[in-house]
Symmetry: C2
DNA sequence: AATACACATGAACAGTCATTCATATGTATG
DNA sequence: CATACATATGAATGACTGTTCATGTGTATT
């Protein structure tokens, strides 16, 4: 009833009110992956079209090696999937959901940028 | 008309089809901030209740200094706002939107975790 | 005004990470 | 089977980052 006591109770049980370590690790790993400009550009590009490693490298002005390394990271997090066709490997988003998450963060970024 | 040409055209103009550097920088800065477990826990905690620095430190088993440093990062990105009351500073989420973004990424994380 | 409390800030250190260069694997072509 | 092409992998390195320790700033209390 007393707001003070409620507040104390919340603080005492904070660790039970937020996600446990393993789940939190999976979540933050994804955010960390999205937090690098190179990987973000790759994901945006794949949001436009399914593309091969070479096309990504050419279109985004990146080293083939760099693109491949970043795709490995994104693949391990199941954010993209690659399918071989001949000697090329075509990558695509594993889930269109990613795009909408980017759009939401973009909205937040532009709005708080404008407000400053 | 020719799908091959469309594809080449996309690759050639990829840089115009994705966000420019400055906007992309603001977006990835936010993702990077969300990509650290300590900051994520702080944001989750603030999603439960408005809390002071000391309460966050106590409830999350973190150093006061550490909490303050991370809050500085979150404040600069306008993800949280702090208001002084006496000698305490109470922090709250700048935007409830953040929570729903976490929920979406959490959904993605758990689903691809289950699928493995 | 002096002391105690809450928070912020700065420097420093250890660990992490993005990128590059070199090389390996895999696949088609002649 | 040899060569060329596309992608993957490994090692090395320079830069960045999270945390700690020490200290500074701001605010209340006596």
């Amino acid at each position: 009833m007393n707001p003070e006591l409620d507040h104390e109770a919340i603080v005492a049980k904070l660790n039970t009110l937020i996600p446990p370590e393993d789940e939190l690790g999976r979540i933050t790993a994804i955010f960390k992956a999205l937090g690098d400009p190179t990987r973000a550009r790759i994901l945006y590009a794949l949001g436009v079209s399914k593309l091969s490693v070479g096309e990504l490298a050419a279109g985004l002005d990146l080293t083939q090696s760099n693109v491949s390394h970043q795709l490995t990271v994104l693949r391990e997090l199941k954010l993209v999937v690659g399918t071989r066709s001949g000697r090329n490997v075509h990558y695509q988003l594993a889930d269109k959901h990613i795009i909408s998450i980017f759009q939401q963060v973009a909205a937040h970024a532009e709005e708080s940028n404008q407000a400053e």
